[in-house]
């Protein structure tokens, strides 16, 4: 596929949002909120930013690789991987069902192409991404490693162990992104466990901290392009990406309530009416 233009990226995002809502509805479980909020990031990443080899290899030698640390937003990742050709879109219909490769949270166990480590228990993905970035350096492989985390996930201690490590070891082939949507299961992040000045925290740990709006395709592309220009400069990069949980479906936005709840039949219809079918449903 040749590099899609902005309009095509937006169409992909709309289709992937439809996929997400349909997947979660079909199994009546899963996490639509964060998935919808991050659809623009995933589309920009897989269809514009990542330098990808054809097919899938676990080692990802000579290509950019991505890790999802907040594994509960698996619907957006699976839909993106399918639309990017890692596996047949029809397989999205098996999400969370018995004998599926599309586990509730991402796993390598069933051999789903595109997944390199299990995630779901939060706080672990940044460490894994840093290790993979260091392996690339040892292999003289100058491609990049990307990782996405949640903002609620910043409450996990391991995140800060990893945050301290990467600048110390000058891991500068790594672009982390935090889905800064301000919501977690129990409510607004600031009420549950306030992160206070997240930017200042990451800066104090020695990271290059960038910010962009994660629900505007043009800004997501520009933000990730800009992040790339900061690699290879002796320090890791982290993007604070402002998103709206549930973005694209009006009644799922401005609340934490759709973090992990599936729509019923009527809600599905209402949601799909707001999301254009651009590439054909799976």
């Amino acid at each position: 596929m040749s590099q899609p233009n902005l309009n095509q990226l937006e169409k992909l995002a709309s289709q992937i949002r439809r996929d997400i809502v349909r997947m979660v509805h079909a199994c009546q479980s899963g996490h639509p909120g964060g998935s919808l909020g991050c659809a623009d990031y995933f589309v920009a990443l897989y269809f514009h930013i990542l330098k990808r080899n054809p097919g899938f290899s676990m080692d990802g030698t000579g290509e950019d690789i991505f890790f999802l640390s907040n594994g509960h937003i698996s619907p957006v990742w699976y839909a993106t991987l399918a639309r990017a050709g890692y596996f047949d879109e029809k397989e999205l219909a098996t999400f969370r069902q018995l004998n599926s490769r599309l586990q509730g949270h991402p796993a390598t166990h069933e051999g789903l192409p595109g997944i390199r480590v299990a995630s779901g228990s939060l706080g672990q993905g940044l460490s894994v991404a840093i290790g993979a970035a260091q392996a690339k350096k040892l292999n003289n492989d100058n491609s990049l490693v990307y990782v996405l985390m949640g903002d609620g996930e910043q409450q996990e201690g391991q995140v800060w162990e990893a945050a301290m490590y990467a600048p110390h070891h000058k891991v500068d082939n790594l672009i982390a992104t935090i889905d800064y949507n301000g919501q977690q299961i129990d409510g607004p992040v600031k009420d549950i466990m306030d992160l206070r000045d997240l930017k200042a925290k990451w800066e104090a740990f020695g990271w290059e901290v960038l910010e962009f709006n994660g629900n505007n395709m043009k800004e997501v592309v520009a933000g990730l392009e800009r992040a790339k220009t900061f690699t290879g400069r002796g320090k890791p990069v982290v993007n604070l990406m402002r998103t709206e949980m549930g973005y694209g479906v009006d009644f799922m936005m401005h609340s934490h309530k759709w973090h992990g709840v599936a729509p019923n039949d009527e809600q599905l219809e209402k949601a799909l009416a707001q999301l254009e079918e651009t590439l054909g449903d799976y």
Binding site: T61, R116, V117, S121, Q124, G131, N139, E161
Partner: protein
């Protein structure tokens, strides 16, 4: 059969350090990570010769396990080093999700296991690690018995694919295995032939079993001593072959009675060849400060405890 004696004592962790250094020379994909315990884990030689392949992680074991999982993506073979307590209980979920479930080729190398850690006391004397690690699907669990075998096990892990846990210790301990004795992961090593009882031991307790065997011989009891250096996958065939001959078993480990080697042996026997089993292990308690010798005695892990267990189990034979 070989008579097992020793002229020299050395800590098993030094066997790990030498084995790791050797692996570093023979396999450029071997990398090492340490959480601020280079001296204790004897990783200094590796670090000195291969600084680019050595990662100081600081006191952050959870991050270390994640880094190791990530390093395998790209073909590296990471060996992590810290105390057994911080290698397992502290980071169980990281090992479970990022390493075991993800089937990453990480070698978790753990020193200072068991009560023979000594004076540092119970906070550091983990006695539950074998159980935790053997419960993880796909995890290989190895507990070598002396310096030479720890070195051999470390080198063997360089050619083994998949997640593995290597448990060793702090104290100076008899070196009684020949340096060239073959070591195969998953293959039990019969040290002494016998006909009245099968003694299955791992780690430091193998030497205790050898001493017990000598005392038993003086009493006219013929004990077979088998070194179960690989607790998982267990050499079921060797266990059954021995117990079918002797009719009873004693297990010896520097670990809780729950969840360790004894459990594994008892499970095999109860399923395939029911026979009396006695377990020499720590009886559902934490350790404490003391010298290794004092602690082995107080917690029932001395050769005389093995002798008593043997006499008891033989008495239970039908």
């Amino acid at each position: 059969m070989t008579k097992f004696t020793f002229t020299e004592k050395k800590d098993t962790r030094s066997g790990f350090g030498v084995g790791l250094h050797e692996l570093g020379k023979s396999n450029p994909n071997v990398v090492a990570l340490c959480a601020d315990l280079i001296g204790s884990l004897k990783m200094g030689d590796f670090k000195k010769e291969f600084p680019d392949r050595f990662f100081q992680v600081g006191i952050a074991e959870a991050n270390m396990m994640g880094l190791a999982a990530g390093l395998t993506i790209g073909g590296k073979i990471p060996f992590t080093g810290t105390f057994a307590n911080f290698s397992t209980g502290r980071v169980y979920d990281q090992i479970r999700q990022s390493i075991a479930y993800s089937h990453k080729n990480v070698k978790i190398c753990a020193s200072h296991a068991g009560v023979t850690l000594g004076e540092d006391g119970a906070t550091h004397q983990i006695l539950e690690d074998i159980g935790m690690m053997k419960m993880l699907p796909g995890m290989t669990v190895i507990v070598p018995c002396d310096y030479n075998q720890t070195k051999a096990a470390t080198v063997a892990l360089g050619n083994h694919h998949g997640p593995a846990y290597l448990r060793f210790g702090r104290p100076s301990w008899p070196i009684f295995m020949a340096p060239d004795r073959p070591f195969t992961i998953g293959k039990a090593d019969k040290l002494i032939d016998g006909k009245d009882v099968s003694i299955f031991a791992c780690g430091h307790m193998v030497w205790q079993a050898i001493e017990a065997e000598a005392a038993l011989a003086e009493k006219g009891i013929s004990a077979e001593v088998i070194n179960i250096h690989t607790i998982k996958p267990l050499d079921v065939e060797a266990v059954l072959e021995s117990v079918q001959k002797t009719g009873c078993a004693v297990t010896c480990e520097e670990h809780q009675i729950n969840g360790g080697l004894g459990d594994s042996i008892a499970q095999v026997l109860s399923r395939h060849y029911p026979a009396p089993v006695e377990m020499v292990a720590v009886n559902d308690s934490f350790g404490e400060s003391g010298t290794p010798t004092q602690l082995l005695k107080k917690y029932g892990l001395a050769p005389e405890n093995i002798v008593s267990a043997v006499e008891k189990v033989i008495g239970r034979k039908k």
